[in-house]
Amino acid sequence: MAQLEPANNPEHVTIPLKKSSKVKDFLSLMVKSKSVLIGGIIVLIVILSAIFAPLIATHDPNEMEMSKRLMGPMEEGHLLGTDNYGRDLFSRIVYGARVSLEVGVVSVSVSLLIGVTLGLVAGYYGGWLDNIIMRTVDIVLSFPVLLLAIALVAALGPGIDNVILALGLIYWTNYARIVRANVMALKEEEYIQAAKTIGSSDFRIIFYNILPNCLAPIIVVATLGIGIAIVAEATLSFLGLGIQPPDSSWGWTLSFGMKFIRDAAHLSIYPGLAIMFTVLGFNLLGDGIRDLTDSKTK
């Protein structure tokens, strides 16, 4: 802005013009917003522990010590105790962050990509296109999620990548519905009509003019979706379709620990807390970012 000549009105020349870039502005706002700060720190902790798992973990996560089975937290150098094979729970949770984070983020991204695109198209064009897309949504929704996921993973072959893909291919319906409803309301706005009168193409109107206006609900649902995906992966892994032993994810550790819930509740509690913590982090972060990107709060 500095290279532009000042306004005609001399009395305004003295007003210092903001020179900071958009990114810098945004970062300084992020630090000010408490929910972004807290959420960001939580997500950062989870990401860092996933990356630096070998440094943080106190034991080899797959090393079994039969003499130290089902130990409680803080016993004999095991921070969170051990499972029924004597494996260190803390180390397993730290390593599990890798899998769970991948499942949550990647499968939600796949869902977003499919759901948001189809929702935008269905809402904007309406008519037969809308009918085809939304009836497909109805069909997908009419199946029990678990059944559909099992069928998909069985067809694709067991493995964590296929679980991610299957979850992505199932949960997109939420986004499609929410986005479609938003687009249908937004496309009647006068500024969309105005965008048409300056010669914007449909593609431009959909992605440049409409999409940013319906980001708020998408962010909220997506952050919650991360938690749902992490738990769904647990179920599939429990059935032997997801992560293959001896590796583990949070969800798998949680469901596995359920067998011992009366004797060693910590086996389920700590992975559960890890999931909760992560989802909370993403939620706070998403919510905060939504508030920040809302032009009216600036």
Partner: protein, 340 residues
């Protein structure tokens, strides 16, 4: 005579609903000369806005635009494909809307929105683009353009937003601006400023303006010629002064009589009795006949066409055709007996 920028011949816009269909705009013809301001006047639902959207090619199904010709600079807009039409929109014909506060996208900065209308049609980027946007903001008289550039729409007042809308419309130097009630949502002092602004930009850049309004005051202020529309038809047209001083159609006369007059202290203003008929109930006769104090038998049976009166003035009324006198059209109570 100046060349015509836009010529519309027998434009007809049809809407279908449950097998019934009606023409919201029914065979209207008019033209706009270069550098001229044409006012289109009429009450709500008479087809003013539909006319402008038809010209822009923005009528959505179930609406359908027919008609002989909409010629804009030797191009027939009705036969252009979507792609070519998009190139004209914003570049050669642009629009200004009634509600400035809702016509700006809330998630983008003012500068980016004005810039977008340039970027769509021209390859301009970076500081060059910014310079043009700031120049446009100056053109429409916005103080502190660099600051407003980075503002969001909700930070601006209605008058400011409308100036921004005008800047967007002017971004690519169009030959024709369609202004759909640009001052209706603004208060009177801002109205005057906006009209003055449009006038001065027109003098500077020489574009034509099609001004849609229901305010006869606005028409007399800024327009060169005017059309009066009623129920999808043009009932009277001509040079503004002629039409306002010497209205030929009972409807135009009624509109003028219903304006409050200086120095006349009256409890109630004159009005035209009745309501605009629903498009589904347009009979075969003159569509104003039911509300007209001069209505004759013929008026209910046959629809009059526009007749040249002289000096570019035209009116569609049997009375004019038969040389009848026109007076006291709108004395509300007198006409109740005539209404069926």
């Amino acid at each position: 005579m100046k060349p015509k920028v836009l010529e519309v011949k027998n434009l007809r816009t049809t809407f279908r609903s449950n097998k019934k269909s009606f023409n919201a705009v029914d065979e209207i013809s008019f033209h706009i000369n270069e550098g001229e301001t044409l006012g289109i006047v009429g009450e709500s639902g008479c087809g003013k806005s539909v006319t402008s959207l038809s010209i822009m090619g923005l009528i959505k199904p179930p609406g359908e635009v027919n008609g002989d010709q909409v010629t804009f600079q030797d191009m027939d807009l009705l036969s252009l494909n979507k792609r070519k039409m998009r190139k004209i929109r914003g570049n050669q014909i642009s629009m200004i809307f009634q509600e400035p506060m809702t016509s700006l996208n809330p998630v983008y900065r003012i500068g980016d929105q004005i810039g977008e209308s340039i970027r769509i049609h021209e390859k301009v980027k970076g500081t060059k683009l910014k310079k043009r946007v700031v120049d446009l903001l100056k053109l429409v008289g916005i103080p502190r353009p660099e600051e407003i550039y980075a503002n969001y729409p909700h930070q601006l007042s209605g008058g400011m937003s409308q100036r921004v809308m005008i800047a967007i419309a002017m971004a690519c130097n169009p030959d024709l601006i369609i202004a759909d009630e640009p001052t209706t949502a603004l208060d009177v002092t801002i109205q005057a400023q906006i009209l003055e602004l449009m006038k001065s930009i027109q003098e500077e850049r020489g574009m034509s303006i099609m001004l849609i309004t229901h305010d006869l005051g606005v028409v007399s202020e800024v327009c060169d010629r005017m059309l009066v529309m009623y129920a999808g038809k043009i009932v009277e047209s001509g040079i503004v002064e002629d039409v306002l001083k010497n209205p030929q159609h009972p409807y135009t006369k009624g509109l003028l009589d219903s304006l409050p007059k200086k120095g006349v202290d009256k409890e109630r203003l004159n009005y035209i009795p009745g309501q605009v008929p629903s498009p589904l109930n347009w009979g075969v006769g003159c569509r104003f006949a039911d509300r007209c104090s001069h209505a004759m038998v013929k008026c209910h049976e046959q629809i009059p066409s526009l007749i040249e009166i002289g000096n570019e003035q035209q009116a569609a009324c049997w009375l004019v055709e038969e040389g009848g006198e026109l007076d006291d059209v709108s004395k509300g109570k007198d006409t109740t007996s005539i209404r069926s």
